[in-house]
Amino acid sequence: MSIAPLLRKIFLVDLLKGLSVTFRYQKPGEIITEQYPMERPAIAERYRGQPRLNVNPDTGETLCIACGLCALACPEKLITVQSERNPETKRKELTSFSYDTSRCMFCGLCEEACSTDALELTQDYEFALYERDGMVFNRQRLEKGPEPTVYAR
């Protein structure tokens, strides 16, 4: 063994190097913790979160044309679209829409299948519940969209 590695070994250089790394990181500026409810992460625009059924902002009418493509596209078959034909306009009208978020894996296939941008996966991710009851979203819930949770003591 040549002398340099031996000396390095005796003087614990390898260990000191490691120690210096952890020591350097003690600066408070290095901390990356987000204190969650107080600090919110920045959610990307394309984030696939809580589903929402968009309505026309001017008229308040739903954008959904009840074509059922989302229900077809869904791998988990968790979307059910019910519609009836309006005798006057001869168009299908949405009667009920249910979306089971408890089984959803947020793959985004329904969103892509939607031809009118009615169904959208929004940026909201805070919709955990204490029981399974409210997890099947009906049309009202979907149209209301995300309700950001307010945290207070």
Partner: protein
């Protein structure tokens, strides 16, 4: 009044003076302070390790998680006490008690100052080493009584480890004790005597003997980590291998006793190291920078530390964002800062100053050790069992033996 006068005037420990009242008070105070220190230690460990790991650590319970140890204690006390069905109940019950008692048994003779030990035992170091190595007994009891594979393996590892490192540790200690005999020709095993001998020789033993003291100190420092089962020698509780080692089957308050004992033992062995090599309660450069001015300057250190800490706390409190959720924390932090500040001011009062500074320097030296413990834990991987043995027997033991002989030689030649 004579009661207080004794404390203020005498420069000997209550044990030496035969003052039972004060001895009892000392024991109680020491036990209380040690418990607080252990709690503080758990908080500090989490905090410092978190910062090394670019995290924040506990932040929710109290300002910057200051009340986290209390919350933990409450949680652990309220937890269900689970005893495995096939456990040996009596031994299972005794094990945490044994560990705890043994860990705290070393405390009475730790010399926090010339007068700040319960008593001065003339075989102090021997007592410390003996008692602290008894800790393995509790661990073996725990591992055996749990009647489970992981604890059993953990306790086996632990016993082997403690026994092997005990030897290197003892040899390193002997070389330090050899040094105490230099001045007078008769060495001492008394903890207080060792510090006084360092005072007389005008040097800390770590700087003594052309670096031999330092090597002995390093050997001891490594062995004591192994002795207390801390990283990188934390095999008995290696969480990635043995889940939690010897205390896998323990929960709730019993588990917390192991936890407390671990920290108490850490402080205990650090106290030995400080006493033997780092000049115990002596302030830095007691000879070189002697004189009244320097005495006062160093005497102000405790006060300054507390004032600065208090100031930091107050600054942190002011810096905290003014959200509703943080209001309580903000006030708590402010109050804590002010408390520290006033303690600091109190420590600057002349009468108190002299009494406090011994304790301060001793605690500071231990605190450095504690920081090192945490630092090692955050940095190093864990040794494997055979490698641990290899380090113990093939590296530390020969080194310690060599140092011992070297010290003896040096003492003769000097």
């Amino acid at each position: 009044m004579g009661f207080l006068e004794f404390f203020y005037a005498k420069n000997i420990t209550p044990g030496e003076a035969g003052n039972y009242t004060w001895a009892t008070i000392y024991i109680l105070v020491m036990f209380a302070l040690a418990s607080i220190a252990v709690m503080l230690m758990t908080w500090l460990e989490r905090k410092i390790m978190a910062h090394m790991q670019i995290r924040l650590g506990p932040m929710r319970v109290g300002p910057h998680g200051l009340l986290q140890p209390i919350a933990d204690a409450v949680k652990l006390l309220l937890k269900e006490d689970i005893v495995p069905t096939k456990a040996d109940r009596i031994v299972y019950w005794l094990a945490p008690c044994a560990v705890m008692v043994i860990a705290f048994a070393t405390y009475p003779i730790i010399p926090w100052g010339r007068a700040h030990a319960v008593t001065d035992v003339n075989i102090g170091v021997l007592f410390m080493l003996g008692v602290s190595s008894l800790g393995v007994l509790g661990i073996i009891m725990a591992g055996w009584a749990s009647n489970s594979h992981y604890p059993l393996m953990g306790s086996l590892r632990s016993s082997a480890q403690m026994v092997s490192y005990e030897i290197a540790m003892g040899l390193a200690v002997v070389s330090a004790i050899l040094m105490t005999s230099l001045q007078t020709g008769t060495g001492t095993l008394s903890m207080i005597g060792i510090v006084e001998s360092q005072m007389a020789q005008k040097t800390w033993f770590v700087f003594n003997g052309w670096g031999l003291g330092f090597i002995a100190f390093v050997v001891f420092a490594i062995a004591m980590i192994a002795e207390t089962n801390r990283a990188p020698f934390d095999l008995p509780e290696a969480e990635s291998e043995l889940v939690a080692g010897f205390h896998t089957e323990y929960s709730g308050f019993r588990w917390s006793l192991f936890f407390l004992a671990e920290y108490a033992a850490m402080i205990g062995v650090s106290a030995i190291a400080v006493t033997l090599w780092l000049g115990g309660w002596l302030r830095p450069f007691p000879n070189l920078l002697s004189g009244n001015t320097w005495d006062i300057a160093f005497g102000l250190f405790p006060a300054l530390t507390f004032v600065v800490l208090g100031g930091v706390c107050i600054a942190l409190a002011i810096k905290m964002p003014g959200i509703v959720q943080l209001r309580i924390q903000k006030f708590g932090m402010l109050a804590f800062g002010l408390l520290l500040f006033f303690i600091g001011v109190l420590f600057a009062v002349p009468g108190v100053r002299e009494r406090v500074q011994d304790i301060y320097w001793f605690s500071l030296k231990i605190a450095i050790f504690m920081y090192l413990y945490i630092w090692y834990r955050a940095t190093f991987p864990r040794y494997r069992f055979d490698q641990l043995m290899k380090v113990g027997w093939k590296v530390l033991l020969p080194t310690a033996l060599g140092v011992l002989m070297g010290t003896a030689l040096w003492g003769v030649l000097r």
